[in-house]
């Protein structure tokens, strides 16, 4: 998912700040992004114990507006958009006609109640936008517009138990009264922003959307305010281990064009009774028959290398699936992973073997999420 040689990599407006902070920059989804600053483990622990600041300017955003924005979104996503109150946020999926997935997304209903704001994975931005615009054009009966606003939208996140204490003094909002998966409009450190209590780490925290030219100002205000609270910048490396511990799927690993959400463990975001949507019939058929594969969590039972994306999974020497994500969990101090396996071998407590460099290493399926924050 890196940029091709023909296409120059895009740079986040925060790149100079990352360089000054000593970040290691890598190509990711067509962008140059920080993979780590002080080190993945240190950054991971900072988010679990204090707070971390994330540059998410590579992510895509589209505005979906018009009188028929709701029926349009209902027809191209899996979750029930009608359930969203003004300011509400929802995890959802963009299905293809075969019942696989084009992307996983967050849909926000704007606090005003007018229209929706949809956040896309960086690696899928272009094809998501093209898909949504094609679908909107097909529906000549609907009054709806789909606009790619990624280039003018800045996005960063603060995550961790100290997040609210850091952000609160910078704004006039009452953050304690902002529930999870809700968004308000306000000013943070003088910067106009949409403030959402959402994230991708398993911790409390906020994601901010601002005019792109103001995002550096907001980053600086948070860095200054967070210094005494243990706030550190966090790169893509720790973002991946954090989301894995919280069992949040990553498109390209747990989710793909050829994996059904019913297999991937995100069936809770599929509302087949809301009315027809793209891919709903294949999903209904699969649900009736039972999904052939299941996404399961496991931990390794012996000291070994880490399970990694693409490693084969066996039971009694027979191939039964593949590791979708795996890592040495910084919080748990052991090797954990997610695998997509034949349904007959799936079940908490049941054994798996992960093939690491030709050796089948024993593992056992365990309950997920691997990590749940205290009190959550």
């Amino acid at each position: 998912m890196t940029g091709t040689a023909a296409e120059p990599l895009r740079e986040t407006p925060l790149k100079e700040r990352h360089v000054a902070l000593g970040a290691r920059l890598i190509p990711f989804a067509g962008w140059v992004m920080p993979v780590q600053y002080a080190g993945i483990l240190q950054e991971h622990h900072a988010v679990r114990n204090a707070a971390g600041l994330f540059d998410l300017n590579h992510m895509g955003q589209v505005a979906v507006d018009g009188a028929d924005a709701l029926p349009f979104l209902q027809s191209v996503t899996t979750n029930d958009v009608a359930a969203l109150e003004p300011g509400g946020a929802q995890y959802s999926l963009l299905p293809n006609e075969r019942g696989g997935l084009i992307d996983d997304i967050i849909i926000y209903r704007r606090p005003s109640g007018n229209g929706y704001f949809v956040v896309l994975n960086a690696s899928n931005r272009e094809r998501d936008v093209a898909w949504l615009q094609t679908k909107a054009a097909e529906r000549t009966d609907l009054n709806v517009t789909v606009e790619d606003v990624s280039d003018r939208t800045g996005m960063i996140a603060i995550q961790g138990p100290r997040a609210e204490a850091i952000v609160q003094p910078l704004c006039g909002l009452d953050l304690a009264s902002l529930p999870g998966f809700h968004m308000v409009e306000g000013e943070i450190g003088g910067v106009p922003a949409l403030v959402a209590r959402t994230g991708y780490t398993g911790e409390d925290g906020f994601e901010f959307y601002t005019p792109v030219e103001r995002i550096g100002e907001l980053w600086d205000a948070l860095v200054r305010q967070g210094a005494s609270e243990g706030l550190v910048p966090v790169g893509l490396g720790a973002r991946d281990t954090l989301r894995l511990e919280a069992r949040m799927p990553l498109y390209g690993n747990e989710l793909s064009d050829d994996i059904s959400p019913l297999e991937a463990g995100v069936g809770w975001a599929v509302k087949l009774d809301k009315g027809p949507f793209v891919g709903s019939e294949p999903m209904r058929t699969m649900k009736a028959a039972g999904p052939p594969r299941r996404a399961v969590g496991f931990r390794m039972l012996e000291r070994s290398g880490s399970p990694r994306h693409g490693y084969e999974v066996q039971v009694d020497g027979r191939p039964v699936g593949v590791v979708t994500s795996g890592a040495m969990s910084p919080t748990l101090g052991e090797n954990i992973g997610l695998a997509l396996v034949e349904r007959d071998v799936a079940g908490v407590g049941k054994p798996l073997e992960i093939v690491i460099r030709g050796r089948a290493v024993p593992a056992v399926q365990i309950k997920t999420p691997f990590y749940k924050r205290p009190g959550a």
């Binding site: 483990l41 240190q42 040495m328």
Partner: protein, 129 residues
């Protein structure tokens, strides 16, 4: 940081110390820095034969698994159990506490062909990020 003067270096970022017919192998500070937090180390058993340009061990960081190579043929006479138990020593002490294996070799003069510290520093600079 400048690489230690008494060692020789490979293009795969190992360091090599010669002491009679015994050579000690580890990975360089540049390599550990590129790998990031090291979480796992796999080494051959004592008595194993190693050959040039064939991986004899694995170093894993949070992000990736990397092979470790010997620049010379030999037999493993000692392996660093402390580094196996605490692979993060490779990050904190790559030239000292986190040596990896000691080999008995037939022709230790082969290592004289490896890069000297100045050559390695220039090489690492050119290939690094």
């Amino acid at each position: 940081m400048a690489s230690p003067a008494d060692l020789r270096y490979t293009r795969t970022h190992e360091w090599v110390r010669r002491d009679g017919d015994v050579v000690t192998i580890g990975i360089t500070d540049h390599a550990q820095n590129e790998l990031g937090d090291i979480t796992y180390l796999e080494l051959p058993d004592v008595g194993a034969a190693v050959a040039p340009n064939e991986p004899f061990g694995i170093v894993e960081s949070v992000k990736a698994a990397s092979d470790v190579y010997a620049p010379i043929e030999g037999e493993v006479i000692e392996r660093n159990e402390e580094a196996v138990e605490s692979p993060d020593l490779i990050n904190s002490s790559p030239y000292d506490r986190a040596w990896l294996v000691k080999l008995r070799v037939a022709d230790p003069s082969q290592i004289d062909q490896l890069m000297n510290p100045a050559e390695y520093d220039a090489f690492a600079e050119a290939t690094g990020h």
